[in-house]
Amino acid sequence: MTPVVEVGTELPPTSVRVTRADLVRYAGASGDFNPIHWSDRVASEVGLPGVIAHGMLTMALAGRFVSGWAGDPSAVRGLSVRFTRPVVVPDDDEGALVEFSGNVTALADAPGGGRVATIAIKALFEGRTVLGKAVAEVLLP
């Protein structure tokens, strides 16, 4: 965890590879078996460029990015995103690379003590934003 957190503090950027196997695992864990997340045939029938990642998986990875920085998944008290563009996941060993970065945009006193940091998150796939208006609220000790 960054020793001093202030407005403007940047989170260490991370990138996450998402493969078809990850989509299958997330489908099972979340119960979202929509075939656009595992079937090329169905994905192309509905006009998608290919099988796409669950938006909620991309959001979860954003949550993981923030909780990893905070060092505590129970510190993440708010997460908000707009799904602006799909993450297309090819059927190969490389998968899709999603790059996360973010910075602290506000700090406030938390009602129960400690502080709440507001974090603006950027998530890029092939250089383009996949999560718009992505914001997290994290409790700091």
């Binding site: 909620m56 990875l61 505590d72």
Partner: protein, 147 residues
């Protein structure tokens, strides 16, 4: 055309959702969350939690069956097959743990139509058996009118 009279209605789940320890671990693995707080009961308890901690988006995941039930209600007339997920917000009033019994109520907040596209806002209130709020989630779903 979805029935606008659904706006303002609330749909409580038939029974509370019981958060399973192995489900929390499975979900954490699926989203790449390796924190011991999500996997190791002793580590979670040492940090002051009653059991393993669910990753934040778990709150939205387990509400989906009830949301689907509302969306597939034939009286509502929602075009389930052609919708996309627009926005998602999750607010945790406290962390969710294995062993929690959580009651979910889906509120139909808003429905607007612009240029043949319907925009539906749903809010889920998640509470413990004493009625204390645990989490609030909000989602925007968008459909195009079938041609």
């Amino acid at each position: 055309m979805p029935d606008a009279s659904f706006v303002g209605r609330a749909f409580p789940g038939a029974e509370p959702y019981r958060v399973g320890r192995e489900k929390v671990r499975e979900f954490a693995r699926a989203v790449g969350e390796t924190s011991p707080l999500c996997h190791d009961v002793a580590a979670a308890q040492a940090a002051g939690h009653p059991d393993v901690v669910a990753p934040p988006t778990f709150a939205a995941s387990f509400t989906m069956p009830l949301i689907e039930q509302v969306l597939r209600d034939p009286d509502f007339g929602w075009d389930y097959a052609h919708m996309v997920h627009g926005d998602q917000t999750i607010t945790l009033h406290r962390p969710i743990h294995a062993g929690d019994e959580l009651a979910v109520t889906v509120h139909v907040e808003d429905l607007t139509t612009r240029a043949g596209s319907h925009r539906l806002t749903l809010r889920c209130e998640i509470a413990d058996p004493a009625g204390e709020p645990v989490a609030t989630t909000k989602l925007l779903l968008v459909t195009a009118e079938a041609a």
